[in-house]
């Protein structure tokens, strides 16, 4: 990276407490790509100052005493001089003959070493050369240490930079803005102006609810004179039940939620939705993130757990499951547990534990033993089903029974009239038993014929009617939540799996947390999942809060302060604003882990409200946004693509939670899987939000996949945002989206007959929360006229939709719904 700006020669143009100098320095290094080693100059090379840190940073992660890649360790002078598998690597005094230099001098853009990394910078190579030339001085008692992740450092609350409000380029509304403003000043970057109110309300709606604002809401906000209009809008959105859907979906990505098992059978998990419902509800009532997490990891181990807390343990029941006939079930059980360990690591610790499944982690301080100690926490978590029939299901069933019962009563009454005389009470109750059986036989009267006058007229009709009606009897709901229950007897022992092969047992291990992290204090003699869950939220755990705060930031600013949300290790991205991240992490904790409070804090900052336009500040068009001089705009998520179509067209069914839905799909899509049944949802269900579309792992819904919904095989902490022709074809031609355009087109014509410009204006407002510019309006009116003429040219067709203003207006709405702006959150 080439430095974009000169490093300011003087940092005291504003007053900062001493500690913040480090902060500024880190910022500079991180943002501007300034090499952190001193430039090669006339000064002599000093091992401790120049060489040691360089070796630690660039070489030691592989060439340490433990890993010795290529047989080489660079930890001490003795080890370095001993060389590796290829012999000596350096000859003091003779850089020309030193193999080390040969390896690190780049040819073109790459060098042999550091392997798979960007090569050393010229000044770094110069340091090494000079050092070797000068005799490779290295004090014999000086041992180097491999780099450790920044994220393992203690989490302390940094002081908020005390900036002078008056000279600030943007309003310093809360501490977030102060941290960000320091970065702007250091980099001499002009922040973008705030976005206009129309952009802001659409941004807030999409970020907090995943739905577009209604035209009425836009008008009210734009015209409001209230000083706290923005804050009030935020509060109302945080209180909306759709908030839980939007933020629940983020969580379901991490939970690799799906409605089927995966693999060959891929059978349905018909009650998987119970967990989804729990997530939505928990987020809506702002269950603090610590309790939210503890319940999901170990709700079953809480004192007298509630049904809700047991349902929460469904988090780790979302793993793929292979039930193919003849498969090695124990192998796939271990694969599920490995996924649980990996997911726990990524979601709460931001650690890629999976690397330690087969061997010690190459870069982060996670040993293979650590991995299987974590495995041990989950090895006795048995998979159970918990009765979880919801009150609304019972009510729904009651209503259905009320519709079904009257006709049944008449049939039973008629049946009585066929009874032979003199039936004993036992015989009568035998009849009742068969008819009321939970799963009645297909021909319930067949074995009872001896009790009836079957020769009488009407018997056979009645018998048929009873059979038919009984088949239609509503099935009583029996919903089972997928949950954990700790195994108490015949507990499994846990061993290290040598090279990750589960049948090759290494050392026996007990539940425990990685040695590099603060120790876990167990409640009993043996730590359990509840101890693990609580340990995540101990004050001294440096990771959980950082990872959680970063993830919320990522959903609101488009990118995390750490760009690799599931990897806070040495090989993950460095934070762009380390002090801001730590402040947010401690603030999250201080706010009692209230997700809504932290979100409120972030979205009410000036930083969040900046314009996302690249042209907002002349001259900064091609400047990267690592300094957060503007907001990021991004294409909305797959589910939101569907939701905004349905919402704008007025078709959206806003039912929250409950069972999943199956929108129409052509057979050639469903039949690639084995015995996939796809009975299309009827009525309003067809128009429910995208997050409710049943996710069948071997036949994922194509529209969702086209827009980068995760495939739910493993936890997903950051979705791709691709931009493909398949997306264009979907938006243009998918029958569901076309239906949205048609319905909205008809509605606009109904509301504004004979007034195309106004209809276009209204469509724009519904879809984009703004009016078209004159130029845009002209383009659209010209399009309307052309499209009307085109449809008139096809008048010989019988289809009403193709030769009328409706057709033209539908096509115009379709144009607006295909605009980049429609599917982008600016």
């Amino acid at each position: 990276m080439i430095p974009l700006f000169d490093v300011p020669s003087c940092l005291n143009s504003w007053v900062l407490p001493p500690r913040s100098n480090t902060f500024v320095l880190i910022l500079l290094l991180g943002l501007l790509g300034v090499p952190s080693s001193p430039r090669a100059c006339a000064e002599p090379v000093d091992f401790q100052r120049d060489v040691g840190p360089l070796l630690e940073r660039r070489c030691l992660s592989c060439h340490n005493d433990r890993d010795r890649r290529g047989g080489l360790s660079l930890r001490s002078a003795a080890a370095a001089l001993a060389g590796g598998d290829s012999g000596e690597v350096m000859i003091p005094g003779d850089p020309q003959s030193s193999y080390l230099l040969e390896l690190v001098v780049p040819s073109g853009e790459t060098a042999e070493m550091p392997k798979g990394e960007p090569p050393l910078k010229p000044d770094e190579v110069a340091i090494l050369r000079k050092w070797i030339a000068g005799g490779a001085t290295w004090p014999s008692d000086l041992y180097l240490t491999p780099p450790t992740a920044w994220s393992l450092a203690n989490l302390e609350r940094p002081p908020v930079p005390p900036l002078n409000e008056a000279t600030s380029e943007f309003a310093l509304r809360n501490p977030i803005d102060r941290f960000v403003a320091v970065g702007h000043r250091v980099a001499k970057i002009q922040p973008a102006p705030p976005a206009d109110r129309r952009t802001l309300i659409r941004r807030l709606y999409l970020d907090l609810l995943g739905l577009p604002p209604s035209p009425a809401a836009v008008t009210a906000f734009v015209e409001s004179n209230e000083s706290q209009a923005y804050e009030h809008l935020v509060d109302s959105l945080l209180a909306s039940p759709h908030f839980g859907e939007r933020w629940g979906r983020h969580w379901l990505d991490l939970a690799r939620y799906a409605d089927s098992e995966g693999y060959l059978g891929d059978s349905m998990r018909p009650h998987a939705w119970v967990f989804r419902q729990w997530v939505i509800d928990a987020i809506n009532r702002d269950l603090p993130f610590d309790a939210f997490s503890i319940q999901q990891l170990a709700g079953d181990l809480l004192d007298e757990p509630t049904l809700d807390q047991r349902i929460a343990t469904g988090f780790h029941r979302n793993t793929l499951r292979n039930t193919e006939a003849g498969v090695d079930l124990e192998l796939y059980r271990t694969k599920e547990i490995i996924d649980r360990v990996n997911t726990t690591g990524m979601v709460w610790l931001g650690l890629t534990l999976g690397c330690a499944e087969c061997h010690d982690h190459k870069h982060d301080p996670i040993k293979q033993q650590d991995f299987y100690q974590l495995y041990a926490f989950f090895n006795n978590a048995d998979e159970v089903g918990v009765n979880a029939t919801m009150p609304w299901e019972i009510a729904e069933h009651d209503r259905a029974m009320q519709r079904w019962q009257p006709a049944w009563d008449i049939l039973v009454h008629d049946l009585t009239s066929f009874q032979i005389a003199g039936l004993t009470p036992d015989q009568k109750s035998e009849i009742a038993e068969v008819l009321n059986a939970k799963t009645p036989p297909a021909s319930p009267l067949k074995d009872l014929e001896k009790y009836f006058r079957t020769q009488d007229e009407g018997w056979s009709d009645l018998q048929t009617s009873i059979e038919v009606h009984l088949k239609q009897r509503p099935v009583a709901p029996a919903t089972k939540a997928r949950a954990f229950a700790e195994r108490r007897r015949e507990r499994r022992k846990t061993f290290v799996h040598i090279r990750g092969v589960y049948t090759r047992h290494g050392a026996k291990v007990s539940p425990g947390t990685p040695a590099a992290l603060p120790p876990l204090v167990a409640r009993g003699p043996l730590a359990d999942r509840l101890d693990l869950a609580r340990w995540l939220f101990e004050e001294n755990n440096p990771l959980t809060a950082r990872v959680a705060a970063n993830r919320i930031w990522q959903h609101l600013l488009g990118e995390g302060l750490v760009a690799t949300p599931n990897d806070f290790g040495v090989k993950g991205a460095q934070p762009t604003h380390p002090e801001l991240l730590d402040w947010l992490a401690t603030e999250y904790r201080r706010l009692g882990w209230s997700r809504k409070a932290l979100i409120r804090l972030i979205v009410t900052s000036s930083t969040y409200r900046l314009s996302s336009s690249l042209t907002a500040v002349p001259g900064q068009e091609s400047l990267s946004n690592q300094t957060l001089w503007r907001q990021n705009s991004s294409r909305v998520t797959a589910e939101t693509v569907r939701d905004i179509h349905l919402a704008a067209s007025g078709l959206l069914d806003r039912t929250i939670g409950r069972r999943g839905i199956r929108p129409p799909l052509p057979a050639f899509v469903t039949e690639v899987g084995r015995s996939v049944k796809w009975p299309v949802s009827q009525g309003g269900d067809r128009y429910r939000r995208g997050m409710y579309i049943i996710f069948k792992r071997t036949v994922p819904y194509p529209m969702l996949m086209a827009f980068d919904a995760p495939d739910s095989t493993v936890s997903c902490s950051r979705r791709e945002r691709s931009n493909t022709p398949v997306q264009a074809l979907t938006l243009l031609n998918d029958p569901e989206f076309y239906e949205c355009a048609r319905v909205l087109g008809q509605e606009m014509l109904r509301q504004h007959p004979h007034d195309v410009p106004t209809a276009i204006e209204a469509t724009f407002l519904r879809c984009l929360a703004r009016s078209p510019s004159d130029q845009e309006r002209q383009y659209l009116i010209a399009a309307y006229d052309d499209l009307l003429a085109l449809s008139a040219a096809g008048q010989n067709r019988s289809d009403e939709a193709v030769h009328s203003p409706t057709a033209a207006m539908t096509a115009v709405v379709r144009i607006i719904m295909n605009l980049d702006e429609f599917i982008t959150r600016d």
């Binding site: 798979g116 693999y263 060959l264 292979n322 193919e324 006939a325 003849g326 498969v327 090695d328 694969k335 990524m346 890629t352 690397c355 870069h363 290790g569 090989k571 336009s613 690249l614 042209t615 068009e621 705009s633 294409r635 039949e671 690639v672 899987g673 996939v676 069948k696 792992r697 071997t698 036949v699 194509p702 086209a706 495939d711 095989t713 791709e720 691709s722 931009n723 398949v726 264009a728 074809l729 243009l732 031609n733 998918d734 076309y738 130029q775 845009e776 399009a783 052309d786 499209l787 003429a789 085109l790 096809g794 193709v802 057709a807 379709r814 144009i815 295909n818 605009l819 980049d820 702006e821």
Partner: protein, 489 residues
């Protein structure tokens, strides 16, 4: 994508009026309008990612003929006279102890010979079964590997292993890796295309062409061989091509206004995506239109075989032949990777009739494809791969509820595959199995080795083609794989 494609015509779009629009006619305008919109802004040239091979490639495109279910190698490719002699005998105890089966009962299991007759064909004298009369005329172009082996003895894990190098769901498939590594050469079609001829559906469904943890643009696109070939390719019912073209014009006009306003290159990418989508709409239907093919070609593939064989109710004969021909048409249009699934060869019972049926479906069109590619000079740069996820046991399958033993169980420990074209040395056999066809006796080729070799043929070092995910650099070959030098021409 390169810029020169878009210099077909200069139209100044902002001044284009209605009269001009109708005078030009929609057929040409859509493409031109979109192209010029993008080209005028100089947006296309800079978007091309640079894809570099590690060394000179021999293959540029691949047709993978995936035989789902596990075809029986000793009845097709690997004659075992000793097995025939031992027909009805129990297996050697030493082998039985160490193995697992999906369905076979070990105690009563008996070896099952093959009723097929094998003969030598071609200059190379390759032995093939009487079930492959057409392929036997191509043996000098194919390299037969009789020593394939793996570990997965269940369908989906085996298929995922063969397709993605991992038995777990969620890894990118071969076609995704190739497109990730090399990019697409087609301006009008996706770089990774899938056709499926389905018995009872694929065990993995769409995960059989998933991009796994690679970005979704590298996933395969499922094509139908008739009607509208791709999901959502056809305009909504009743919407004419003219309306579509006119609509796209305005979509791009407005997107361009936005691009100028906010300067975000993502908007330009979206305009480009719409252009490609429209070109797909124009070109993909042409792909399925076989009216330009000669009667000889159609007959050679056997495209109209359904009519000739009324006894076959499935319609696979013509359909699979059509897919093979379409694969060639795809390759001609620059598609990088075409995977043709044929399901299913999973003959636990009625092996004879099953093999008869599936070789009848596939033998003629596959041989026709090889010859057709060769005649057109396409075989040199087109790698053709034939194989399933594993083979079948030399033991007859005596599943508990089977009345008679008429089939074979899954067998990953040795099986056959073949490759042709794309830098593969034809007319040779690689590897040997032991005398009963249980294990590999010589020159074992693991699934990872196959993958390493395929990437090698494309000029890619399988150790260097990596993608970072969850903190690790992942490869198609995981941490294994050796290039099989003997396969290379």
């Amino acid at each position: 994508m390169t810029a020169q494609h878009h210099h077909e015509c200069e139209i100044d779009l902002p001044t284009l009026n209605r009269r001009r629009f109708f005078a030009t006619g929609a057929s040409g305008l859509g493409t031109l309008a979109l192209a010029s919109l993008l080209n005028d802004d100089g947006l296309l040239a800079s978007e091309t990612p640079s894809h570099v091979t590690h060394f000179a490639p021999r293959a540029k495109r691949c047709i993978y003929l995936f035989m789902e279910g596990g075809p029986s190698q000793m009845d097709l490719f690997d004659p075992k006279p000793r097995l025939n002699e031992l027909d009805g005998q129990p297996m050697p105890e030493s082998i039985l102890q160490e193995i697992k089966f999906a369905f076979i009962q070990k105690e009563s299991a008996r070896l099952m010979g093959s009723p097929r007759t094998f003969r030598r064909y071609g200059k190379c004298g390759m032995e093939l079964s009487d079930l492959l009369p057409h392929l036997s005329t191509c043996v000098d172009d194919i390299a037969l590997v009789r020593s394939m082996h793996g570990e997965q003895f269940n369908h989906l894990p085996g298929q995922l292993m063969m397709l993605s190098g991992s038995a777990l769901q969620g890894w990118p498939t071969l076609g995704s890796w190739l497109n990730y590594g090399l990019g697409s050469e087609s301006n009008n079609l996706p770089g990774y295309v899938v056709f499926a001829t389905l018995g009872r559906g694929l065990p993995g469904g769409a995960s059989s062409w998933s991009s796994g943890f690679l970005p979704s643009q590298y996933s395969g696109t499922l094509f139908r061989n008739q009607g509208s070939p791709v999901l959502n390719l056809a305009n909504p019912a009743g919407m004419s091509r003219d309306v579509q073209a006119r609509s796209l014009q305005t979509i791009n006009e407005l997107n361009r206004v936005r691009l100028q306003r906010i300067g975000n290159p993502e908007v330009a990418s979206r305009m480009e995506a719409y252009e490609l989508a429209f070109r797909m709409q124009q070109n993909a239907p042409e792909l399925l239109d076989l009216s330009g093919e000669t009667a000889t070609t159609l007959a050679e593939y056997g495209v109209s075989r359904d009519e000739a064989s009324q006894s076959d109710k499935s319609g696979f004969l013509g359909s699979y032949a059509r897919n093979c021909l379409l694969a060639r048409r795809m390759i001609e249009r620059g598609v990088r990777f075409v995977n043709l699934f044929l399901s299913t060869w999973d003959h636990h019972s009625n092996l004879d009739s099953g093999l008869n049926r599936y070789t009848k479906i596939s033998d003629q069109p596959v041989a026709a494809l090889l010859k057709d590619l060769k005649r057109r000079g396409l075989l040199d740069e087109t790698l053709v791969v034939w194989g399933g996820e594993f083979g079948r046991t030399p033991l007859g399958e005596n599943r508990v509820n089977f009345k008679k033993v008429t089939g074979r169980d899954h067998h990953p420990y040795s099986f056959s595959m073949w490759m042709a074209g794309g830098g593969v040395r034809g007319g040779q056999i690689i590897g040997e199995t032991d005398e009963i066809g249980w294990g590999v006796a010589q020159d074992p080729v693991h699934v990872h080795d196959l993958h390493a070799t395929i990437l090698h043929l494309f000029g890619l070092d399988h150790k260097k083609l990596t993608y970072r995910f969850q903190g690790r650099d992942f490869r198609l070959t995981d941490v294994e794989g050796n290039v099989v030098k003997q396969l290379l021409a």
